[in-house]
Symmetry: D2
Subunit: 377 residues, 4 copies
């Protein structure tokens, strides 16, 4: 693991996710830009101090020649460092698990995706929400035609924790997220809108054609958008509406997806993730529960407990980690992966996400965007 040391939020999530199903063991890392602190942290995690490195370069140098070298490396550092680290790891022959977004700039994303494609290494990107079993269930059902041809997608990702200028009062998580140099050009759209965009495409199976967008920065002094509205047109004529916000009071982590087809709709809400709501054209609104007998193989492979025993965010994250393990193992063994190792977010998805954010910001900044004013308002 690179980054994710003392005080890091997402690093701990990655570790729990890796450990939960017993598919991974954390044996080495460069956890902190301060090597001393990194070593202390490694010790607390029961990791051999000799394998706690001062930098990712040191890690690569030392690990690449070990017989028991690490199998894959998780990158849990701020966005702008993803590219050099991932590049170096791939070139040294390591499989990579990278936090989203893949990179902070489009050029980096294009380059990294090309490198991933040309290498024989695996690059997984942690688009967390496609780790949820009921998201897979939704994807399978759409693909199977259960709701007919998709007409429209409504997706939103509202948050409230950045509703005030906490980046100006010492919140490190907010500070790098609002710094264009570290985060990239997209504020809310890059941080969470990209999750929503991936989720919508993952479930609907649709490919974006074009978009037009409106960004806003509501917190005074903030350098990036904290609220984004995007109208999307998908290839084939379906439409989408996407809203991301970091200032939506009342919403803790309100990822919500609704997909409307010709013969039905599906709705999923991340804060109640064990349910999927199916509304068929003929018939009643139904609740599909995680753990039910009639779920798809894809959903069943990502669940551990019966219906009624809530699984959540950590289990979804663990499903990604278990999936990456299965994909890597299958690759090495020259076999097709099992259901856990399929439909995983990879470098290609990472690139699409970065390109989406670029297009949203470009659309917002376009000089010729026409806004009409009604004659009476």
């Amino acid at each position: 693991m690179i980054g994710g040391g003392d005080g890091a939020y997402i690093g701990n999530i990655h570790r729990i996710a890796a450990r939960l199903d017993g598919a991974w063991q954390l044996v080495a890392g460069a956890f902190d830009v301060n090597p001393e602190k990194g070593r202390a942290f490694a010790g607390g995690q029961g990791i051999d101090e000799a394998r706690s490195y001062g930098s990712y370069q040191d890690l690569i140098a030392a690990e690449q020649d070990r017989a028991d070298r690490v199998e894959a490396v998780a990158i849990c550092t701020p966005n702008f460092t993803h590219f050099p680290i991932a590049k170096a790891l791939l070139e040294a022959g390591f499989d990579v698990i990278c936090e989203k977004p893949l990179t902070a700039t489009l050029a980096d994303a294009v380059a990294l995706e090309a490198l991933a494609r040309s290498s024989d290494r695996f690059v997984g990107v942690t688009y967390t929400y496609c780790g949820y079993p009921m998201v897979h269930e939704a994807r399978v059902r759409v693909a199977a035609g259960d709701i007919g041809a998709v007409r429209s997608v409504q997706v939103e990702y509202p948050l409230e924790w950045m509703a005030t200028a906490i980046e100006q009062s010492g919140n490190a998580q907010a500070a790098w997220r609002t710094d264009p140099a570290k985060n990239g050009r997209g504020g809310s759209i890059g941080d969470i809108g990209t999750h929503a965009y991936h989720l919508a495409g993952f479930v609907s199976g649709l490919t974006l054609d074009s978009l037009t967008a409106d960004l806003a920065t509501f917190v005074p002094g903030r350098a990036l958008d904290d609220n984004a509205h995007v109208m999307m047109r998908y290839q084939g004529g379906a439409r989408g509406l996407l809203w991301s916000s970091q200032v939506a009071l009342g919403h803790s982590n309100g990822v919500r997806l609704r997909v409307f087809g010709e013969t039905g709709s599906l709705q999923w809400f991340q804060e109640q993730p064990n349910e999927l709501i199916l509304s068929p054209l003929a018939g009643r609104v139904q609740t599909i529960k995680r753990g039910a007998d009639d779920l798809s193989e894809d959903a069943k492979a990502r669940t551990r407990t019966p219906a009624g025993h809530p699984e959540g965010y950590l289990e979804a994250f663990a499903n990604l980690y278990a999936g990456f393990a299965e994909a890597i193992r299958a690759q090495r063994e020259g076999r097709a992966p099992g259901p856990l190792g399929r439909n995983l977010p990879t470098a290609s998805d990472g690139l699409k996400g970065v390109a989406f954010v670029e297009a949203v910001v470009d659309s917002h900044e376009a000089a010729d965007q026409p806004w009409l004013r009604p004659v009476a308002v």
Copy 2:
């Protein structure tokens, strides 16, 4: 009442609403284009057959000279007839209660609003959702600064009943709604999007600056949009996102409004109308219940039962009717109306609604609307 005879949906709603609080008595009407059927219908309603007229012209001619002439006339006919009927009624000195939209064309709306302004007659427009007490409560709270300056508004009005081409198989309600000559240029945006637009402005107190929109027609053969996405910019910098759909399977009548301010948010959902969700910046998500002791005068005036005894759509409609009665009575008595007679939807709101729909359709049809395509999707 003009229109609203046998088989008419909205006419019956108007009658129940007028009767519920005992503020109105239905004594005359031109209920049907077929005078025989109209007369039969009037009889069934206990109305003197002599006052069941064959046309609105007949009604005006006969009623305007009676000592006990009707006090106000409700127009419950298809959109394109609103203008001539309302105009004739106003010119004959009747107060008018008109179904939304005010008219089918912008020119008619402009003319009618001007006429209403220059006359001393009252013109109420039945934007139903601002009849709900908790919508008033939300309006009062926003106006009082309870959520601070408004940053953004999310409003949606999804329906499912036109998800297939029912207008082609004899559904009269769907037939005129999909006929541009009878309905106007806006399909879903004119039928229900205009409700959402009014509701958003009513509660937020915001005035629209400009918009950009994307319409879609998903049901083959349909002549008007059945799904609309609108990005809005309000004066002062607030943003809005509006979605209306007549093909959103799973949604019966899903009007939902969320208003986000600097220090709080409010959420209201029409299918659970007795609750208002308040999320303050500091503190917990709270449920404000209709019937609670600490509600505003505006909300209390529009409620009849204690908390926990659900009131709904008919009570909201009745609140409009009771409000129209109070406004008209106060006008005649030369006094300020009580709370029921304030903040009512009038011709001015009707014009704004029609202008909004025009701008949405114009935006969608604009040749220069730029849509960007990401480099990777």
Copy 3:
């Protein structure tokens, strides 16, 4: 109408209910024990002052000889007066609509039910919750075997408004409800538990065999129970659990019914009355919406608007009034009543309710009720 004058809560509800569907006209009454106040009140309601009487005796005396005498009389007075008023009305040949409970004592209930049975007059009792269309839908489905033989019933009616000793600080509604002489022996069980008991039997179709109960009075100084727990055994072996409470903070009017059968269950919640939740043995949890096409004739007859347009408490009450009108009219016309006039709560239900309350209080007070203490707690 007897009682229900100025300041009376339930009287106003009865009037709205009677008026909502246009089935009744209020033309006479003895609204107040103070004739002056009663007359003033009648005037405000648009009632001929000559038909505003000083007592129920006066009303009977004056009305019984009029050609246009009232057709039925609603009794909206405190419990202990129901019996003499209803008795006098029946003996004078009036149809009666009586608030629940039928009477304050079992002896009165037995006598009144016998009188009702031997007369040819109609006696309706306003068990409000069986006015809801989705309650009828539930009843029809259970009767049709949709959930198989019923195994158990969970019913509760929690309220919060009497959580403190408001009867000691001037609340008239609470004062008579906590006075055994005016209310009868059952506190929460008589006021609201009787609603829950009726509802459970109405939907399940089950007949009670026996019960054992535990009452509590939590507010110091209160003379009657404010919390009741009842275990029920129905004939045939089904079981029931009933909870009523006037001190359940957080619950406004939380009537909730769940009926579990061999092949499915049904759940209905009064604060969201437009939905019925069906959980079949095979298949998914489903939401049955009021207004759907596939509802029973009984439910359809009790609804005015499409799905998604909430109807509530007043519409349920209006359904009872419309039903009483239909039942009375059918009786006079010597025909079978239509669906609205069937399955109405009558004197027989009123007697069962009073008998239930008596048995609950008797059970609680029984000297020999064995309570076991575990060896370790």
Copy 4:
């Protein structure tokens, strides 16, 4: 670990829970009554085959002399075997983590609790629901007086998976649960009612005084109750109502607790475990979210992610395991445990649970239990 091998449901849950926070490592076990299968299973778990034993006796014999002997042993076998295994482990000086119920008979429970008390070993019992952070939050708030003196408790645990006679068609989980010899005298009340009883006492802080109960067996041929109703009286006058059912169609794992006090109430529902609903006497219904800043130390110690990132059943179970680790470590280090190691379910709770089930069955079977029949039903 004893038991919990191939195909065992709860064994896998214990392993995930132990692993999730990295507090435990599984190094030895007697996983299966068939030693071959046990060994194969151990291999799959990455456990040294030499420490995969054929029986708990073998495990004790081999492990008790190792320098790196296991620190604690988890018992995941059917109920009737808990006692001999736990006894042997305690006598050999191992700490014990035991599935609930503690034992299958009251005599065994009394003996085991005494043994635990007199030994210096730790005995944890996995009453899962007190592992949830919001259950701890509720406990802390009740103890702090936030809802005033507790008046009543409503607790229910409905399940649906045994609604048909699946024990007769090869379902092993159902088979031992319906066999009195393996499960004990209580069916639903022993399997899940005991969870509900523990949860109610844990949060309310109340001590049971006495109870009266009604059991039912709805599935033909079943030897134990599958539905239980219990009325409870707590010391000091508070009341409780408990319902457990294995045949409640529609309920997956519906543990629900409501605690009503003089000045507020708290509600928690296991299928939405990240929320706690607080209804104060003065003020509005509020949602307390896991992850909020103002939660108790006890709740915060049991959470890993911010609000909005659902944690669930496995995290609750992991909290118990992390707590057992902390309690054992603190005991060895002679210090007071941190918040995770406090308020854990131990042998004493296990005994109370078994005694409760005994009393419920005794009450139901008591010859003198009076059930009253109303005079009219």
